[in-house]
């Protein structure tokens, strides 16, 4: 279409000749996708010309530069670094615009309002059953439930419709599902999966919604999240927690991002992420903006990416560093426990040591320590022994680490041998024997408080796609899970190198067309789950959100709490798969994948072994006989019948055999 317009307007070739060449090219390009697709493209070329109309643009666009003056003024970074870069003026920025350590601020994707959706969901209040599933599956965190008190709604716009909160937890509250129309990409999965009798979400043209919903959305941001009301470890409850991953640039209907969004709702406030190269490093780290963000207390995921081949090792290093630093902290706390301190403080410190590897317990005792220790603690580094910690050191950890004059005794300057606390730099860094004659408890409490960001147990994650996990980064992934350490791996499996351009990976299944597998992949998909399970001490889950949100939640919670390595392999529908129903049905497609047996869902929990149970729980039912229908629904399989009909028939039969064999094998193991 664009091409025909171009040739009409540009006059670089005789127009008739250009159109003829264009149609010839369409036949060549789309031939294997079927006659219908070819004809649709040819029709599009013809109709485009019939419908060519001039669109007048405002005169002001001539000099448009950067964001309008009316744009929201945000942080220094957003206004002075991010805006120029997005306005393609990044090359004019001085080096001093950037932090020397390479860190980019987070929570900045909210400033990139796109408004690219053609249709967005409209919430039909009276039909909603408040299940929150629409929010759960949204790839862009663009539809969020709001729970408000009457008081909080006093200044709401008149169009800000709400329902009475359902169930005893929400009694007395008002409920609303708020669509963020400008960050929505319009995929429609929310409306598609809505389980209400009459759908509570209907896709409507963007222009019909923005008039009221932009304001409604703005107002919704003034209503605090109500995290405590419904248990957050449920599908419904998880959506009352602020997602700490929002508005990424992932494709509409992306099968990967919903998993990550939910993970940040569960663990985001204490999460570290090492991200492998791939789609997730693009939608996760699209400098200058970042879709990872923080909760109202300022806590959010720490995100970093190194190389395609070392994401596992890199994340392992992050985890080990935290582990060692927390061991050192525990050694210091144990030393203080030997001193003459108050009963309350003693209880808080020993409670922390006992529960330091439990997220909730360590946070609670950490908060108590902060409260109780601050009055006793001394700052002994720069301010001199005996200076009250609270009078000089309660500055934010940020100013500490950037080297303020007070308490610059960050752990770094300590270990290089400051005069404080007389622990030699050796005993500091090893953390094994922290003792010295003239150590004062107060002085050490000051040090402990400087490490207060270590109080809460961290949740360590490694993210990547199948190209990383099955191929390029597999050696490292294997090494990390073998270690037995407490670390979690999320594999977003699109079954092809998606970001790199559609090349076959070891996760590509039999019969799928991909680059380097133009006549259909001849050999089966590698069974990463089986490999990980072979260790016996690795938690392994294979999940598909569209098939079971509950199973997804169980897997996330079990994996994260398992005190050893975990691997979660997620089925992730992707534009590269050529889903005929479109990217608005990725959740549905994922359901069909599991029902047909194409993808199996299961959980392998080594803790069950200790209870004398079979560690493997097969959550899939037997294949329901729809495998060929499923394959026919995706061009990666369907197109082979056009280009290589015999090979397609052979491979289709092989896939069916593999699907049945795999189910039988898993069933045998799970019995």
């Amino acid at each position: 279409m664009f091409s025909s317009q171009f040739f009409k307007l540009a006059n670089v070739l005789p127009f008739e000749e250009a159109i003829e060449l264009l149609k010839k090219d369409i036949k060549k390009t789309y031939g294997k996708k079927g006659d219908k697709v070819v004809q649709m493209n040819i029709d599009a070329v013809d109709r485009t010309l019939e419908n060519l109309v001039e669109v007048a643009v405002p005169e002001s666009w001539k000099d448009a530069s950067g964001w309008p003056d009316s744009a929201q003024k945000a942080t220094y970074f957003v206004d002075n670094v991010m805006q120029p870069i997005l306005g393609q003026k990044g090359d004019l920025l001085p080096v001093s615009s950037f932090q020397p350590d390479g860190v980019f601020p987070n929570s900045t994707s909210q400033y990139e309002k796109r408004g690219v959706a053609i249709n967005v969901p409209e919430w039909v209040q009276e039909n909603c059953i408040q299940c929150n599933q629409c929010s759960f599956v949204c790839p862009h965190a663009a539809i969020i439930p709001v729970v408000a008190t009457d008081d909080e709604l006093k200044n709401a716009p008149s169009t800000f419709a709400t329902q009475e909160g359902k169930g005893k937890e929400l009694k007395g509250y008002r409920f609303r599902m708020q669509v963020n129309t400008l960050d929505c990409q319009g995929c429609g999965n929310c409306a598609d999966i809505c389980p209400a009798k009459v759908p509570a979400l209907v896709m409507k043209p963007l222009a019909t919604q923005t008039a009221v919903e932009i304001e409604n959305h703005k107002f919704s941001l003034t209503v605090p999240f109500k995290e405590g009301l419904v248990k957050k470890d449920t599908v419904k409850g998880s959506q009352f927690v602020k997602p700490l991953f929002e508005f990424s640039g992932a494709c509409a209907g992306c099968g990967e991002t919903p998993y990550v969004k939910v993970l940040t709702q569960l663990f985001g406030d204490r999460m570290t992420i090492s991200n492998a190269t791939g789609c997730s490093s693009i939608w996760g780290g699209s400098a200058p903006s970042s879709p990872y963000c923080t909760n109202p207390e300022g806590h959010g995921p720490v995100w970093a990416s190194s190389l395609f081949e070392d994401a596992a090792e890199y994340g392992y290093g992050m985890m080990i560093a935290f582990k060692k630093r927390r061991q050192t902290l525990a050694a210091k706390i144990n030393k203080v426990l030997e001193a003459d301190i108050s009963t309350d403080l003693k209880e808080a410190l020993s409670g922390w040591v006992a529960g330091m590897n439990d997220a909730q317990v360590s946070k609670e005792y950490g908060d108590k320590i902060k409260k109780l220790a601050t009055e006793h603690a001394s700052c002994c580094t720069s301010c001199g022994s005996g200076t009250s910690y609270s009078s000089c050191c309660s500055g934010s950890s940020h100013s500490h680490s950037s080297g303020s004059s007070c308490c610059s005794g960050s752990s770094h300057s300590h270990s290089s041998g400051s005069s404080c606390c007389s622990g030699s730099s050796h005993s500091h860094s090893s953390g094994s024997s922290y003792s010295s004659a003239n150590t004062s408890a107060d002085c050490m409490l000051g040090e402990i408080l400087e490490d207060q960001n270590l109080f809460t147990k961290k949740s360590h994650w490694i993210f990547g796609g199948d190209g990383w996990a099955y191929d390029i980064g597999f050696g490292g992934l294997d090494h990390v899970i073998a270690s037995g350490e407490d670390i979690n791996i999320l594999v977003m499996d699109t079954e092809v190198y998606s970001n790199t351009g559609g090349q076959s990976s070891k996760a590509t299944p039999t019969g799928a067309i991909a680059k380097y597998a133009a006549s259909g992949k001849k050999i089966g998909k590698k069974d990463l789950g089986a490999m990980a399970m072979s260790y016996g001490y690795v938690y392994v889950a294979s999940i598909a959100m569209g098939a079971s949100k509950q199973q997804t939640m169980k897997a996330f919670l079990e994996a994260e709490s398992y005190p050893g390595p975990s691997v979660i392999i997620c089925y992730a529908p992707c534009i590269n798969q050529g889903i005929k129903k479109g990217m608005g049905k990725t959740q549905l497609q994922s359901k069909l994948a599991v029902e047909s047996g194409f993808w199996s869902i299961y959980r392998y929990n080594p803790l069950l072994k200790a209870e004398g149970k079979n560690p493997l729980i097969l959550d899939s039912k037997a294949p329901d006989g729809t495998i060929q229908e499923f394959l026919e629904g995706e061009n990666r399989f369907a197109a082979l019948a056009k280009s290589f009909p015999e090979e397609s028939a052979r491979l289709r039969a092989k896939i069916e055999q593999e699907v049945n064999d795999k189910y039988a094998h898993l069933k045998k193991l799970a019995e």
Copy 2:
């Protein structure tokens, strides 16, 4: 002992003080190996001094340089390159001493006669049952059966005792087991495993044997191997084939080399080997000498080594190169088949094309082609079209490749566009469409004969230890087996980085002491076999020669003939394991490992699936309850009870559980 002698003679410290320090050090060093070991060492110090005697050496040793003049004159390389290097004068050699392509001649370890054994086996003729097991297990190919006709024995030394050949195959032949006393390392495994009622091998001091056995061995080399008499795919028959791997510098009793030796007897004449870094790259590539050698026809393994991390990929490249070159050859042959050629030749050529992937068939038809085609073939490259191939090109392939003036049309010069056969360089290298108007069949036959080294199907192997296979090279190993290509991988599993100095690898089992696991490894051994089996199309075997030579043979033959990837994981006892019985009992120890359930033997053959059978055959019997006894027999486990008694008890219980679990799991899968 050496230390006490040194201090007695050198007078660098007051002698009494030196001895006291020495004994203190012994307690520290050997303490964890038990009081008995400490006392033995202390006794050794004391007794050494009592037994200090002066040994007179010949006056001539003063000026000893290099090998004696009487040394065997061998090849140019041995005499002029290898000898100076071994004489530590390698730095005086000019660069021109070496081949510019980095290739070292093979068959050279035979010139490094060591004579380092203290005891060597003496063959007791009357007890021998001719089972050849001693030869099968010998790590150094230093004991070989001789089968001779009466005629061949005419000039035998009088001490060259023989038996009548047993069984119908050896009827009319004389049999003898010949010990090569100077290449024997004296481990004693041959004598230990001799199954005769009264042992047919008795270990005797070297000096008692050399007088007659050096001459006997020399004579034995004049008797040709009788390969055809007993089927070579049996334990007994395999030993009547010349090993193409001999006299390496591996440790006495090495658990790795016997596997490799047998492999060369089965496939060595058509084998390519890519060797990972590790023990096998040292004993396999100890420049300037090479233990790999050739059979009387000049065929033997091609051996190469690249890096620790890429042995699998490197071997994969070797295999792919051969595969593509043979496809090109097949395309040329198919083209000749269209021409008007003799019926005989037609039959030979089409027979070869049909059977090109069968080792025996491709060799037989290849030999026929050589015979029939030579008279017709023309040399068209340098000599000009129509010159008879046999008159100018039947030179050795060596002189061809080094660029003789005739038929320098090696495949390399062809592909760079010679005028011969008018195949464009493109069609040559792709091999898909070899056609041209003025191609003459005779001319192309010339080209085909130049590639006669490709006639016989090659046997492609990748060798490495557990440090490579389980750790550093695992990503590549996984990638290669996933490919589905016809390639074989031999993993010699010593369960520790042996050559590197005893560091823990992912193959190190629970409870074993190793570097980085000084208090016993806490987590279980990685199950490489299970991982490989998860593909479903990979042949996998876990073997232990000491437990079953028959199972070892079956695995080798099945793996090699399987038309896809194969992985064979071999239990390989090693000095690093601290086997209390000593390195003369490595075969026995390997038997005990399997009987106790410590090591499982099985074969997973995907071909059985097509027959509707379970592909997994469990060759192990149920653990016999001797696991603790087995562990007690190796210092890697036993020493932990000294240093960390509680941890040892905990880990011993864990190992027992793992052993039982693994057997139960394999049994379930095999049913």
